[in-house]
């Protein structure tokens, strides 16, 4: 196994988006068989498949850029918590269906405009992956926002649970539209997107859905970030341990 920490700027940039997708994909996979009804189990597993698929394409591409022996699987399975650069929102655990859908919704509202912009990337491979992901994201957002509205504007109990989920995840949403030097560099080169330019699109989706769901947008301004530089909440490590143990115990194992 060669080095698994991406060295070039482009690979590092691709890996952060791959990380977002593999982490939310793993979280969704954890929920399979626990959904309130069969159709939702199918939906959750399909969402997981889409995200893990996007992650796979991005990891494979990043590994190709890195060259050498590094593979996409190495990037997913042999990097530790501090080397993961996903957004904090996607690593947050869930305690029920409402949490799963709120986390998904807040993330979908970010990913849809993200993929829309990356569809015009000057990097052909990124553009192609993004074009497909944008269409998938349309279905994801339709599904997650539908549940946020249905449960938010549902019974007293479902409303309360959804409000608690929104309040609990809100402090991780500022990071979605926060740019760092690498984002700005990639945006300047026409390869990537400066996430701060996605803020208006994200807010208008989120505000409209929360309003229809009769949920209150949290007013607490406190925000936490750090995922892009490997500073995670306490939840990522145990999740990666579960995700990676098989490959770490049996390196190179395949179906």
């Amino acid at each position: 196994m060669s080095t698994v920490t991406p060295q070039t700027a482009l690979a590092t940039y691709i890996v952060r988006h791959a990380d977002d997708n593999v982490v939310i994909g793993q979280r969704l996979a954890e929920y399979v068989s626990r959904a309130p009804e069969l159709e939702e189990d199918l939906a959750v597993s399909n969402l997981a498949l889409d995200h893990i698929g996007v992650a796979d394409h991005l990891f494979t591409y990043a590994a190709k850029i890195e060259g050498g022996d590094c593979t996409g699987d190495d990037l997913a399975m042999f990097r530790a918590e501090r080397q993961y650069t996903n957004l904090l929102l996607v690593e947050q655990p869930h305690h029920g269906f409402g949490d799963v859908m709120v986390r998904q919704f807040l993330f979908d509202a970010y990913q849809l405009p993200l993929w829309g912009t990356l569809s015009d990337s000057t990097d052909d491979t990124i553009a192609g992956i993004a074009q497909r992901a944008a269409r998938e994201s349309t279905y994801h957002l339709r599904h997650s926002s539908g549940w946020v509205i249905r449960l938010g504007d549902g019974t007293d109990e479902s409303h309360e649970r959804m409000q608690t989920a929104v309040d609990g995840m809100w402090r991780f949403t500022g990071e979605l539209v926060e740019a760092d030097d690498l984002d700005r560099q990639m945006a300047a080169e026409g390869v990537g997107v400066d996430p701060s330019t996605l803020r208006d699109a994200w807010e208008s989706t989120v505000d409209a859905v929360l309003e229809e769901a009769t949920l209150t947008r949290p007013s607490d301004p406190f925000q936490t970030s750090g995922g892009r530089s490997g500073m995670h909440t306490e939840h990522l490590g145990p999740m990666l341990a579960e995700m990676q143990w098989l490959q770490r115990a049996n390196p190179g194992l395949s179906w």
């Binding site: 159709e39 939702e40 199918l42 939906a43 597993s45 399909n46 969402l47 997981a48 498949l49 889409d50 995200h51 893990i52 698929g53 996007v54 796979d56 394409h57 052909d124 491979t125 553009a127 192609g128 992956i129 074009q131 497909r132 992901a133 269409r135 998938e136 349309t138 279905y139 339709r142 599904h143």
Partner: protein, 160 residues
């Protein structure tokens, strides 16, 4: 009688028509437009270019291995399967023949846009009184519908 011998590319293409989507076995990879190009260079290396459908489609691995095995059966030993990401695959590339086969097998073929309520007909009784049960169905590419007239539950191949 003139026997026109097939060129190696034509022969490879003919062999590749045996490769089907494992989830929808009545559709070949060419029907579904996963197969994008077949080239053979001077050294005899066959390069097959495919494009992934849904990002997480688990069938791609099987398809890749099937491509290798049908070509090996036909005598092509040096085969490379490449993945092209751009342009991104869309259901708009699906042939009319593929759509006809889908309908024949009671899977409603894809509409042309990502509509909330797709304009599809019940593949059993052709009624337009249909309802979406779930946007996500048995595979990544399908959603689950039901006909409210005849009661038939059916798969719809989602437009993407």
């Amino acid at each position: 009688m003139v026997i026109t011998e097939m060129s190696p590319v034509e022969r490879a293409r003919e062999l590749l028509d045996r490769v089907v989507d494992p989830d929808i076995p009545f559709l070949t990879i060419s029907d579904i437009a996963i197969l994008r190009a077949v080239e053979i260079d001077d050294a005899g290396t066959v390069t097959v270019t495919i494009t992934p459908t849904y990002s997480g489609c688990p069938a791609m691995a099987t398809i890749t291995s099937d491509i290798h095995s049908v070509l090996a059966d036909g005598g092509f030993d040096d085969v490379a399967v490449e993945t092209a990401y751009t342009p991104a695959w869309t259901t708009e590339w699906m042939s009319d023949e593929a759509k006809r086969k889908l309908a024949e097998n009671r899977i409603a073929p894809p509409d042309s846009v990502l509509s909330v309520v797709p304009e599809v007909l019940c593949p059993l009784c052709t009624s337009d009184e249909i309802r979406t049960v779930s946007q996500f169905g048995s595979t990544a590419c399908k959603s689950l519908m039901v006909c409210t007239r005849c009661g038939e539950p059916f798969d719809y191949f989602k437009a993407i």
